[in-house]
Structures are given as structure tokens and as C-alpha cells.
């Protein structure tokens, strides 16, 4: 069964450094998403992406964050200058349509030191 893949599984970065999290969505899916889960808290929506542009973003997704689909398969989340509070699990998801189930990757654990 096709799946969403995320790399790396764990990323450790110094505060203030830039980090790029990578995702390969399911190949026939058109909508892409990033969520995050801070330890002990809910899964929170960050951003949705369709047709090479952001379609919706949450208040968490400030100017430090950006997303890109650099080629036909990858979908990336960049955090420009990481803060301690960016430490979390980051999940990528994709769906065929917005009213179809989103399928999630196994996440990247981001640890900011």
C-alpha cells in the first residue's frame, strides 16, 4: 500500500540554525499538509499546500516557516531560525481531495538544543 515517507526520522539542531524536513507524499495525492505534535499535546495543523501554493495556514505557521515542493515528489518544511519551542514531532500528510482522508507519515522528531 502506498505511504507517505518522511526523512530524517530524528533531527537534532542547535537553536538558531535552519532545518529542512522532507516528505514524499503518496504519488497520486494533490493536497499536502504539515502538522506538529509537541510532547504531551495535541496534533496541531500547520499548513496545507495545493497546486504549488499555500492554501491555508495556522497562526503557528509564522514567517520562520516555509514550505516548498521543489520537484515532482518532495514536499519540504523549512524552519529558518529554530527556537527551543520548535522541538516537536512533525508529521507530513497527503490526500487526494480535501474531503478525503489524510494519510500521515511516521514523522520527524525535531530536537532543538
Amino acid at each position: 500500500e502506498p505511504e507517505v515517507t518522511q526523512t530524517p526520522s530524528h533531527q537534532v539542531t542547535q537553536m538558531g540554525q535552519e532545518v529542512i524536513l522532507r516528505c514524499v507524499p503518496i504519488s497520486n495525492h494533490l493536497y499536502f499538509y504539515w502538522y506538529r505534535q509537541i510532547l504531551g499535546q495535541k496534533v496541531e495543523f500547520l499548513v496545507s499546500f495545493y497546486n504549488n501554493e499555500i492554501s491555508e495556514k495556522s497562526e503557528i505557521f509564522d514567517d520562520q516557516f516555509s514550505v516548498e515542493r521543489p520537484d515532482g515528489s518532495n514536499f519540504t518544511l523549512k524552519i529558518r531560525s529554530t527556537k527551543l519551542e520548535d522541538s516537536a514531532m512533525y508529521f507530513c500528510a497527503s490526500s487526494v481531495e480535501t474531503d478525503q482522508p489524510q494519510h500521515f507519515g511516521d514523522g520527524t522528531r525535531l530536537s532543538i538544543l
Binding site: Y35, F45, Y50
Partner: protein, 113 residues
């Protein structure tokens, strides 16, 4: 922000019996609901969904019930199996939006042999 609430952090059930997981929501504009299952170190896995035009959806051992007047949904697992032991997340969204899902905090289900 508690738009989607799962008030039971944990539930323990005997193998073969019914598991009932509950979820309440506050925003009456939600029109699409999903249940996800999550094992440790993995991403959420889609289980079953229901739109607001239905009050029941069934898929094998899993049935989701929606009570719009009470703003309540539940997931029934019959019969429960030890492999069902996981954290279950309820999520809600708007069909007309760009896919932003609001998640509950999750309920940890333990199915004992």
C-alpha cells in the same frame, strides 16, 4: 482551544469485548469527522470517517456513530483484539476548507488478552 475533546485519556478492555471511544466537539460547523489510530514511533493511521449527513458508518469491526444534536461521536470496536491497543485520535474538519483537521488529545486503548 478545545474544539475537539476526548475526555478519557485511557481505556482498558478485555479481548473479545466492545471498545467504545468517545469524542465531543464544540463547533457545529464541523461536517467531516475521522478516527485515527497511532502506535508509538509511527504516524496516525486513518481508520474510518463520517460526514455530517450520516449518523453511522461501518467498516468491518469499526463503527463510527455521529450525534449532531449532542455534538458527539463515538468509535465502536467489536470484537476488540490485543492488536487494537494504541492511541486513538478523533479529528474534525470542514469539507469546504483546505483540509485543516482539528485533533483531540487522544485516548489510549489497552486490550488485554
Amino acid at each position: 482551544d478545545q474544539q475537539v475533546k476526548q475526555n478519557s485519556p485511557s481505556l482498558s478492555v478485555q479481548e473479545g469485548r466492545i471498545s467504545i471511544l468517545n469524542c465531543d466537539y464544540t463547533n457545529s460547523m464541523f461536517d467531516y469527522f475521522l478516527w485515527y489510530k497511532k502506535y508509538p514511533a509511527e504516524g496516525p493511521t486513518f481508520l474510518i470517517s463520517i460526514s455530517s449527513i450520516k449518523d453511522k458508518n461501518e467498516d468491518g469491526r469499526f463503527t463510527v456513530f455521529l450525534n449532531k444534536s449532542a455534538k458527539h461521536l463515538s468509535l465502536h470496536i467489536v470484537p476488540s483484539q490485543p492488536g487494537d491497543s494504541a492511541v486513538y485520535f478523533c479529528a474534525a474538519g470542514f469539507v469546504g476548507s483546505q483540509g485543516n483537521l482539528i485533533f483531540g488529545k487522544g485516548t489510549k486503548l489497552s486490550v488485554k488478552p
